[in-house]
């Protein structure tokens, strides 16, 4: 497989992982106005949990779902008992989520040591498929398929279900939504838990390909930030498109201009902020 094709496939796969990470971030930020600076930590902790389960011989999908469920529980508890009390106070929310991010980073370092963990690609996802004379690794394609499936599911949930309508109502006007009988606080806990679960799921999906190591949390968090700034706050389509743009920039930048890869990564964000502050698909400015 030639270099360009490899880069393209890797870019698309990274885009899929980034979407799983940033869709939750975008939902939490867009719906609840909470700057969740522990989102990268959810990703990393979820990945570590999944990797541990995999090492014990658990099936890959079971491990991913179990890790997502565990993070949903942890995220839900943090939202219900700590973040809830800080509703509308940006600075305390920032400090609290940042505080947890540091604690999670240190606890992970303590439990899983500083060595990177890279689980083997699950057996039934190994190998490659041949399309038009070119080989594509199955696992990378599966990541993309999962990301697209999650995107469609989230879109259906938010735009087409009763629950989604309630969430949107709570966002537009929480007091009135409460008056008509919607339990807004409960919805917010649900959304936060969902975001945490998606991040953890993304972490496990990405683990065989990115590997899991200390510092992964603060490497992923800025990526989620750029994706959301790029795509527009609260927009799922924006998160999807932004994820793939960043996936491509990251892989091509690292391969072609390794010194400046990080700068290239942030250039589209700069352009968007100057030209279209609400993001590609956003309705309001952040």
């Amino acid at each position: 497989m030639n270099l360009w094709l490899t880069l393209t496939v890797n870019s698309v796969a990274l885009g899929g992982v980034l979407f799983l990470l940033s869709s939750g971030f975008s939902l939490i930020f867009g719906l609840m106005r909470i700057p969740n600076l522990m989102h990268g930590s959810f990703f990393m902790l979820g990945a570590y949990l999944g990797v541990t389960l995999l090492a014990r011989g658990v099936n890959f999908w079971v491990a991913a779902l179990a890790s997502a469920a565990a993070m949903a529980l942890i995220g839900g508890l943090i939202e219900r008992f700590l973040l809830r009390r800080l509703e509308g106070q940006t600075l305390p929310q920032v400090l609290l989520t940042l505080g947890f991010a540091f604690i999670i980073a240190d606890v992970c370092l303590m439990l899983w040591t500083g060595d990177p963990w890279q689980p083997a690609t699950p057996g039934h996802l190994r190998g490659a498929v041949q399309v038009a004379g070119l080989y594509f690794p199955i696992y990378r394609l599966v990541i993309v398929l999962v990301a697209v499936a999650v995107a469609v599911a989230l879109w259906l949930l938010v735009d087409w279900t009763r629950l989604g309508a309630m969430i949107r109502a709570g966002v537009d006007d929480a007091p009135i939504a409460r008056v008509v009988g919607i339990r807004v606080s409960r919805l917010f806990t649900l959304v936060f838990a969902l975001g945490a679960a998606l991040a953890a799921f993304g972490g496990v999906m990405g683990a065989p390909y990115l590997s899991v190591y200390p510092g992964l949390d603060f490497e992923m968090l800025p990526l989620a930030l750029i994706v959301v700034i790029l795509g527009g706050v609260g927009s799922l389509l924006g998160a999807l498109v932004g994820s793939f743009i960043i996936g491509f920039l990251y892989n091509f930048g690292t391969a072609l201009l390794p010194d400046l890869a990080y700068v290239i990564l942030f250039l589209p964000m700069v352009l968007i902020l100057v030209l279209r502050p609400q993001g590609l698909f956003g309705k309001v400015t952040t």
Binding site: L95, F102, D106, F218, P222, L225, V228, Y262
Partner: protein
């Protein structure tokens, strides 16, 4: 009413005492350069915290990219000295570079306020970290940049702990004084106006964006100065200086001490530096402690230690007056509020 006058006098006395304590600190701690160095660290981080406080406290703009600005100044000095420049030229150029970086940060981040501002500064700070870490041909990557020597302005060598402390103290006092003037100036008042009532300020004809931009530049300038102190103190700078953790530490200093106060960031810097040194002597897990302090402060003293302690002291004083009959007879009850 003699109260305001007596308050000013007591404030002056306390400041004079504190100043005398700071000026004679190396004499008290002369035998222990370790403690003098910690005092220097507190002062240099105080400058950074005071700089960030202009934005967080007085402009209401929370930046999580200030360690990036500090590192820009530090790296600029280190690289210019390596290229063969003199200390004075390197420092002036570093401040210029930092101001330029601050202007870029400000233009981008001020497209937004609130959470958006925070996220953009965080992302920009990460760019600085990324450049420091990845652009190894320029910044020497993970190995960092080492400085051969500290400067010797007017023939006074700053190599020792004591002389460096005094240099840091002078710069710290200038920074503190300039903040004091800034806060009380018409500009400081308009800055607080843009924090509290940006729409009304616009309606009154103020250019809110420009006021915030200038505040960002002033903040960036002092952050750069603290970067110079940082790099000369350690004679070394590496990517972690620009990392999100470092930005978060500066923010913790501002918030734990109390935002929009002059004393708060200094108290916060002292707490963080002391905690960090003490904690690292006993445990490896400084970040864990840092995270716990964040959460404890938010839970129990959300307004920060200085305003929080003032509140507790006032409450205690009111309680003492109410419980002591002689005091309450001299001072009527209405004034306890």
């Amino acid at each position: 009413m003699s109260r305001p006058a007596s308050r000013i006098t007591s404030a002056a006395v306390v400041s004079a005492l504190l100043l005398a304590l700071l000026a004679t600190l190396p004499v008290w701690l002369g035998r222990h350069p370790y403690y003098v160095n910690i005092a220097s660290q507190i002062l240099l981080w105080s400058v950074a915290a005071l700089a960030l406080n202009i934005l967080v406290g007085y402009a209401g703009l929370v930046s999580l990219g200030h360690a990036g600005l500090l590192a820009v100044a530090g790296y600029a000095v280190g690289l210019l000295l390596q290229a063969g420049g003199g200390h004075l030229v390197a420092c002036l150029a570093a401040i210029g570079v930092t101001l330029a970086a601050s202007a870029v940060f400000a233009v981008l981040a001020l497209r937004s306020t609130g959470i958006g501002f925070l996220m953009i500064t965080l992302a920009l700070g990460q760019i600085v970290w990324g450049v420091a870490y990845r652009w190894a041909s320029l910044t020497n990557g993970d190995n960092g940049v080492t400085l051969a020597s500290r400067p010797a302005p007017m023939g006074l060598s700053l190599a020792g702990a004591g002389p460096f402390y005094y240099a840091t103290l002078v710069i710290f006092l200038v920074a503190l004084l300039s903040m004091w003037v800034l806060v009380r100036s018409p500009f400081g008042a308009s800055l607080a106006g843009t924090r509290d009532q940006p729409r009304r300020m616009t309606a009154l004809g103020f250019n809110v964006w420009l006021i915030r931009f200038v505040a960002f530049l002033i903040s960036g300038f002092w952050c750069g100065v603290s970067g110079l102190l940082y790099v000369y103190y350690h004679q070394f700078i590496a990517p972690p200086a620009a990392a999100l953790t470092a930005s978060a530490e500066i923010l913790l200093m501002v918030i734990s001490g109390g935002t929009a106060t002059l004393l708060g960031p200094i108290v916060g810097a002292a707490i963080v530096v002391i905690m960090k040194n003490v904690a690292s002597a006993y445990i490896e897990r400084w970040n864990l402690v840092l995270g716990l302090i964040f959460i404890l402060i938010i839970s129990f003293m959300p307004e920060g230690l200085v305003p929080g302690s003032v509140r507790l002291a006032r409450a205690g004083w009111a309680w003492a007056r109410a419980s002591l009959p002689i005091k309450s007879a001299r001072q009527p009850q209405e004034r306890t509020s």
